[in-house]
């Protein structure tokens, strides 16, 4: 326990030396402000300008979904960058043969940040949300976002073998978030092509305003995590 705690704090102090990673940790708050206070102003301006009742507001639900996915993705990205550096420097290998062990390392680098991301999302989403979601939506969106954060992390880790590749692969991996946008923009049944993406069903549930559509999300997330984790554990 002590080793896990200290190696987690070791990572946090390490972040202070890296402006990019430090900024990534603060991004949820900055983006939250932007979403909550700037977007409605835009909406007012645009509806006035075009003399239409709505421009962006039909997509407020989607913006809220993306916000729920933001903290897990950012914290995950930060942890991945730290782990890839630890992989490059072989410090991870050394940590595995201290009382931290491989298991403790994975908890310190991915378990604790995921729990943090979940808490941060549950706290920030009610503050910054644009739609009148009940609390059940908040919790489910935060949980879905967190698990998807783990999927993104595992995707980056399995597809890259050093920090440089990791940066490149990150852009690709975050694309899986945008499955949530499909139900908003593709009305045709073609949309189901992307139904293997867990985020698709989150988008569907919010778009249709029915939690029933959220059902496939969690089994799908677990399948993704299970398959990627198997690959990843084989690699380390």
């Amino acid at each position: 326990m002590k080793a896990i705690r200290l190696s987690f704090w070791g990572m946090v102090t390490y972040l202070r030396r890296d402006m990019m990673l430090f900024a990534a940790c603060l991004a949820p708050i900055l983006v939250g402000f932007l979403f909550r206070f700037v977007i409605p102003l835009f909406e007012d301006a645009l509806t006035d300008w075009f003399h239409v009742p709505t421009v962006i507001s039909p997509y407020y639900g989607l913006i809220d979904i993306l916000f729920a996915m933001l903290s897990p993705a950012m914290f995950g990205f930060v942890s991945v960058m730290v782990t890839l550096e630890e992989n490059d420097e072989k410090t991870a290998k050394y940590l595995f043969i201290t009382p931290l062990t491989k298991h403790g390392y994975l908890i310190a680098r991915f378990g604790i940040p995921s729990v943090f991301a979940l808490l941060v999302t549950v706290v920030l989403l009610p503050v910054f949300k644009l739609s009148p979601f009940p609390f059940s939506y908040i919790v489910l969106l935060a949980a879905g976002g967190t698990l998807q954060g783990i999927v993104i992390v595992l995707l980056i880790l399995t597809l890259s073998s050093n920090k440089l590749e990791g940066m490149a692969v990150t852009k690709l991996s975050t694309l899986i978030m945008f499955g949530a946008a499909i139900p908003f923009f593709v009305k045709d049944n073609v949309q189901y092509v992307l139904s293997p993406l867990p985020s698709f069903w989150i988008g569907k549930a919010v778009f249709e305003n029915s939690l029933f559509y959220m059902l496939p999300t969690f089994p799908l997330l677990f399948v993704w995590i299970w398959a990627l984790l198997k690959q990843f554990l084989r690699k380390i």
Binding site: S7, K90, K93, G104
Partner: protein
């Protein structure tokens, strides 16, 4: 301290480490000597619990390696063949962080740095360290938690003579403290100097296992070779233990006509060649 019985392991389908058995007692320096690719590092990785899919049994400190828990690592110190330091942190920050992971109280960091001759560079980033400095720093990292067993992978390879000497002295100092030390090397001088016993490893198998002294003795006696002038240069040799029977040598000594004389002990390298038909490099 270590009991290995019928140990087999492979990364692939083909057999690699096969049917090894040996034991190492407390306070001993035990060396794995063999050419690169022989499986020395692999064997060490099994013994420190990094590779757990082996067959047979490997017991370290009373614990079967594949069943290790975190406490297993309170008493094992490892120095890999590569540096394992946070390059952006200073030496001191690195040592402080790694020592904090153990339940056991850390050895004084200042003292360890001094032992390795790094006390004036303690606040430099590791990325600014030379290869020799990194090697010394990685070695003292393995000592932080005062483990009973040290596993050193090629501790002297690639070091200049000065750094290599410092490293060997630090190793011997730990032995004097009663630590058990496992080391791998392909340098036979180091093996002969440091190890109480060595195991020759080639192709995943142990070909011989004994003290360097006994291995050398097994090769047979030391020979003496001498030269003298008689129109042209002549040379002859004779086993050291039959020297008094060599009438020609006695005569040459009496007449003070020897040009050169030297004895040659077989080296571990010769023994290694004899037993395995291969050189160490």
């Amino acid at each position: 301290m270590i009991q290995v019985k019928n140990l087999s392991f492979s990364y692939t389908k083909q057999p690699f480490i096969s049917d090894m058995s040996f034991s190492v007692s407390s306070g001993e320096i035990f060396g794995f000597l063999g050419p690169s690719g022989a499986g020395k590092s692999t064997l060490q990785k099994v013994l420190i619990g990094m590779l757990t899919t082996y067959q047979g049994s490997a017991i370290v400190n009373g614990v079967e390696c594949r069943e290790r828990t975190k406490n297993f690592y309170e008493n094992i110190g490892v120095d890999f063949e590569f540096s394992t330091m946070y390059e952006k942190l200073t030496a001191k920050e690195n040592l402080r962080f790694f020592s904090s992971l153990y339940e056991k109280k850390s050895r004084p960091i200042e003292q360890l740095l001094e032992k390795a001759g790094l006390e004036h560079d303690a606040d430099k980033r590791v990325s600014d360290y030379s290869k020799g400095m990194k090697a010394r720093l990685n070695f003292i990292k393995a000592l932080l938690h005062d483990p009973l067993l040290l596993c050193l992978d090629e501790p002297t390879s690639g070091l200049d003579p000065t750094n290599s000497r410092v490293m060997k002295d630090m190793i011997l100092e730990e032995k004097a403290k009663g630590k058990t030390i496992l080391l791998t090397t392909h340098n036979m001088q180091d093996a002969a100097e440091l190890c109480d016993r060595v195991a020759f490893i080639v192709g995943g198998k142990i070909c011989a296992l004994d003290s360097p002294h006994k291995l050398i003795m097994s090769k047979g006696a030391t020979t003496v070779t001498y030269t003298w002038m008689e129109n042209e240069e002549h040379s002859a040799s004779c086993p050291l233990d039959c020297l008094s029977a060599d009438e020609q040598l006695k005569r040459l000594i009496a007449e003070n006509r020897l040009q050169s004389i030297h004895s040659s002990e077989p080296t571990l390298n010769d023994i290694f060649m004899d037993l395995t038909g291969r050189t160490l490099l």
